[in-house]
């Protein structure tokens, strides 16, 4: 029954690859969503073999990630109004 853990590891690695290799903000957000879903799959697996409380944690994680997507898309819309693109390399107004 450990195949769920291997699957969630594979999905997490795919998400990490996306975060590292794409520069577009929306693509980075998509990759972060994939990583969050891999972690939720892990929670669901352990909850199905252990006790149902991990399912509640996965539920909270889903709600928080939905809120995060809404916030991030608002910020990207503002950035698009400012710079006409959402390239993450160009968010350097603070010269950091």
């Amino acid at each position: 029954m450990e195949k769920y853990l291997v699957l969630s590891g594979i999905l997490f690695s795919i998400g990490l690859y996306g975060v590292l290799s794409r520069r577009n903000g929306i693509m980075v957000l998509i990759s972060i969503e994939i990583m969050l879903n891999a972690v939720n799959l892990n929670f669901a697996y352990f909850s199905s073999v252990h006790n149902p409380q991990g399912q509640i944690f996965a539920l909270f994680s889903i709600v928080v990630s939905a809120a995060e997507v809404a916030c991030c898309l608002a910020i990207f819309l503002l950035a698009f109004r400012l710079k006409e693109k959402v390239d993450l390399d160009q968010f350097n107004l603070m010269k950091g």
């Binding site: 450990e2 996306g18 879903n37 669901a44």
Partner: protein
């Protein structure tokens, strides 16, 4: 049960790869929707029907629509070349190797299969996890207000 797991996990892996690596953003978002759907089916195969239904409702019904709205209202071009291809592949392969190695090392042995019901989740949410439940609703309210304040046009 087993063949369902293999079918949906193959769909999940390939749609995740497409969602991460496609050039066109609309196609990537559609592939992400397929990914969310197959992960929801995997939850249902784990006999966690409530989590699967919530996954399909929130992600496929809400998050994908949000992405499509953003793409529709702006003109975001797909990005050019990704020059960090090789380091990203190397780092993610190393991470995958580490994860699988740790899971093999840990020798996880669970014998009891505990099917959970929606009834149990509802009781837990209303008794033991009442305060986190309320805090999560507060998070949603703050997100709503914050998003509206961010996007309000200043006249």
């Amino acid at each position: 049960m087993d063949i369902g797991f293999y079918i949906f996990s193959l769909i999940a892996i390939f749609s995740a790869i497409f969602a991460v690596s496609l050039k066109s953003i609309v196609r990537a978002v559609m592939s992400l929707g397929l990914f969310f759907f197959s992960v929801g089916c995997l939850y249902i195969l784990l006999s966690q029907e409530f989590l699967g239904i919530v996954q399909i409702l929130i992600y496929v019904g809400g998050v994908i629509i949000l992405f499509l709205f953003l793409i529709m209202t702006t003109k975001i071009e797909p990005i050019k070349t990704n020059w960090t291809f090789l380091p990203a592949v190397v780092i993610s392969c190393v991470l995958l190797f580490l994860i699988v190695w740790i899971f093999n090392k840990g020798k996880l042995k669970f014998t009891s299969f505990a099917p959970s019901s929606i009834n149990e989740i509802g009781v837990l949410l209303m008794t033991k996890y009442l305060i986190p439940f309320e805090v999560v609703s507060l998070v949603l309210l703050v997100t709503l207000i914050g998003t509206i304040c961010l996007l309000k046009k200043k006249d």
